[in-house]
């Protein structure tokens, strides 16, 4: 089809659209929803709450670092679906993730053996909380992100998974508080890293271009 005809068809099919909210505002909106949802989940899980003794300052510092990481990662995800915006929000989110992992390492006693770490079957509950509990958050975030432009699908999906993973991790830690250890680092950090890796690889499948190739646009279609 001729490009001039395409332009005429696009003009004919033009409908008013509201500009998307800015990334920071969208990130705050999603994070507030996530906080409510995780709060409800934590309260619902209080029946299985473990003994909170031994939870020290390091635990709370790592939770704060995780919340900050979640906010920055969601902002980076929302920024990545707006063409032409600078990429520094990704750097901040990446640094925050490193700080979060650093707080886990710094507050953990590092006398352990890998067999004990890997055999910590009680951590499957945390993994379940992060993956299954985080799924609705990921779904909402994906729907919001798909309203943007998929110019960096891998990065979009990776930062979305990081945001969901670390915030769901906070929910898991508040439901089942325990002092930070190599087990927490390996299991919580590992599952978040796995989520981010899978999302980065699958990003193009979820956030591909969905061009408006309806017959009315491409062929002219029925008019009027």
């Amino acid at each position: 089809m001729n490009t001039n005809d395409l332009i005429e068809n696009l003009v004919r099919g033009l409908k008013p659209v509201a500009p998307l909210w800015r990334p920071g505002r969208r990130a705050v909106a999603w994070s507030v929803c996530a906080a409510f949802y995780l709060g409800i989940l934590v309260v619902a899980m209080s029946a299985v709450r473990a003994d909170a003794d031994g939870v020290g300052m390091g635990f709370w510092v790592s939770q704060i670092a995780a919340v900050v990481t979640g906010l920055l990662a969601s902002r980076a995800a929302f920024t990545s679906v707006v063409p032409g915006l600078p990429k520094h929000s990704r750097v901040w989110a990446g640094l925050a993730a490193l700080v979060w992992l650093g707080t886990l390492v710094a507050s953990s006693p590092w006398e352990f053996d890998w067999a004990t770490v890997l055999a910590a079957s009680h951590e499957w509950l945390c993994v379940g909380f992060i993956v299954i509990g985080g799924a609705p958050l990921m779904l909402v975030l994906a729907v919001m992100l798909r309203r943007g432009a998929p110019v960096n699908p891998g990065a979009t999906a990776a930062f979305a998974a990081l945001a969901v993973g670390v915030l769901a991790n906070v929910g898991a830690c508040l439901s089942l508080p325990h002092a930070n250890s190599a087990i927490t680092f390996a299991w919580h950090g590992g599952v978040v890293l796995a989520l981010v890796s899978v999302a980065a690889l699958a990003g193009r499948l979820v956030f591909g271009w969905n061009l408006a190739r309806s017959p009315s646009i491409v062929d002219g279609g029925p008019r009027g």
Binding site: T3, V11, R12, L20, A212
Partner: protein
């Protein structure tokens, strides 16, 4: 500047009006940016033919249309547009590489009925009904390729759009169909 629009960003103003549903502004915007997009694509894809460049231009226009809500009127328009163009160019290159890997290139055969060379071996078929029958007996894909390319004389691109098959698949189907017709009509003559 009180409304947040960057100064001298006339394209941004047109897009802002387009977001509000102003068709005339949208037409002006698209007509203004199309030659610039075409120029960028030609510069980046020096090896691409006219049709391929035009395909990419249309891809960018459709992308701009689809994600026009992501344009923030408070920001300059050109970086927003360039990010989309860059992305569509990368996607186009990726698509091209994928298709090239799948396609089978065959040498151009003299398969046009109007070419004398093509009629050397079947041009002397006295019985037109035999030819029609031979075409009818071809497998579906080969028959469709012959009908579209040789009888209706569509271009490869047009035939690909009509049939849904790729250009490469149509070339292969035509090549095979011509070989089958030669065999069938040759046997009939013997």
């Amino acid at each position: 500047m009180t409304d947040g629009t960057p100064p001298n960003d006339s394209l941004g103003e047109l897009m802002r009006a387009a977001q509000q549903g102003d068709g005339a502004s949208y037409r002006e915007l698209l007509r203004t940016i199309t030659p610039r997009i075409r120029q960028i694509i030609r510069r980046q894809r020096g090896f691409a033919g006219i049709a391929e460049v035009e395909d990419l231009v249309q891809d960018v226009l459709l992308s701009v249309h689809t994600v026009r809500a992501t344009y923030d009127p408070a920001r300059p328009f050109v970086p927003w547009l360039l990010a989309i163009v860059r992305n569509r160019l990368v996607d186009g290159a990726r698509r091209y590489a994928r298709i090239s890997r799948r396609e089978i290139h065959v040498d151009e055969e003299e398969v046009t009925f109007s070419e004398p060379e093509a009629n050397d071996d079947i041009g002397d078929v006295e019985d037109a009904a035999a030819l029609r029958e031979a075409v009818r007996a071809l497998p579906e894909g080969q028959r469709q390729a012959i009908e579209l390319l040789k009888l209706k004389e569509l271009s490869l691109k047009e035939a690909a759009e009509v049939s849904g098959a790729s250009v490469g698949a149509l070339k292969v189907a035509t090549h095979r169909a011509m070989a089958t017709l030669r065999r069938t009509l040759g046997k009939r003559r013997e």
